[in-house]
Amino acid sequence: MTRFLLPLAIFSVLVVFLGVGLTLNPRQVPSPLVDKPAPVFQLHHLHDPDKTLMSQDNLGKVWLLNVWASWCVACRDEHPLLVQLAKAKIVPIYGLNYKDQRDTAIQWLKQYGDPYTISIVDADGRVGIDYGVYGVPETYIIDKQGIIRYKHIGPVTVKSLEDKILPLIKELQG
């Protein structure tokens, strides 16, 4: 009996390992930046290029940094949800317009609604690299101390908002 049980046990362990592996999403790369201070930036506003926003300006409040671009198809998916979230005034959303054209970006916001407290421009993607952005959209939750608490990769969904993002914001806002 044992001569069948042992290979079966080994086989079962392998199946469990492979099964877990199949459920993982290779696109979800854990960010080493979570629980680290958000990289410092100073970027120009999208609508008013003379003004700049510094990341330290947001110290003392919980905020979302949403990386988006008008050329990004998945950003269209999450956009209505962001507009709703902005209307609910739960948390300020800052838009990081990533490697985009200013006029098409502004046009895009005009067309689909503008959920952003302020949109800032990362034309060459340098701040994106600092934040470990490798695809758009990505959304960061940054706490009052300026520490990244969560990174959401891909479009924000109702489920991710309810399960993770909103509870975490509530907790961080205290």
Partner: protein
């Protein structure tokens, strides 16, 4: 009259020679134009990069780094916009005299160990490093035990005297043939 004819003939001849020489000139020009690409291709290929040594170093380093967008490609091989940006960043850091380790640290700080094709040795990667070795050792031990058990099983059934004689007779018979 005669004079006129000579003059006219020489005029015509001259005209023809002119015609002919312009034709030759045009032919040469056409041939030349047709051959220009060949001539220019004959030049040695000039490297596109301004600093070939640095580019070589960049390729060597980025071959061991994963492109996060197209995850089965290296940063060196990827044509993704993202990979371009990272290569640009690496190029600039190399120009700023950063060492390879510093550049890798810079990337790991932002994208995690995932950018490395060669995973670091950590408690979380122990299974990754030793998994194959454990499997190999397990299989070897299993095989060893199996072979030993089989040998003892064979020894458990010695031939009887009549069987031994029969076998010997068979061997002798085949040897003769």
């Amino acid at each position: 009259m005669y004079k006129f004819e000579v003059a006219a003939n020489s005029f015509i001849l001259q005209n023809r020679i002119d015609h002919y020489s312009t034709f030759i000139k045009q032919l040469i020009a056409v041939l030349f134009v047709a051959l220009v690409p060949l001539i220019s291709f004959a030049n040695e290929a000039v490297p596109v990069a301004e600093d070939p040594v640095l580019e070589k170093r960049l390729i060597n380093l980025s071959e061991n780094l994963r492109c996060l967008v197209c995850q089965n490609e290296s940063l060196a091989g990827s044509r993704a916009d993202f990979a371009n940006d990272l290569r640009r960043e690496m190029r600039e850091q190399m120009k700023a005299n950063k060492s390879d380790e510093e550049i890798i640290d810079f990337l790991v700080a932002r994208y995690g160990d995932f950018v490395l094709y060669n995973p670091p040795f950590k408690t979380t990667t122990l299974l990754l490093w030793f998994g194959p070795l454990i499997l190999f050792l397990g299989a070897t031990i299993g095989l060893f035990i199996y072979l030993r058990r089989r040998r003892t099983q064979l020894e458990d059934f010695p031939l009887s005297e009549s069987q031994r004689l029969e076998a010997e007779a068979l061997i002798n018979k085949t040897n003769k043939e």
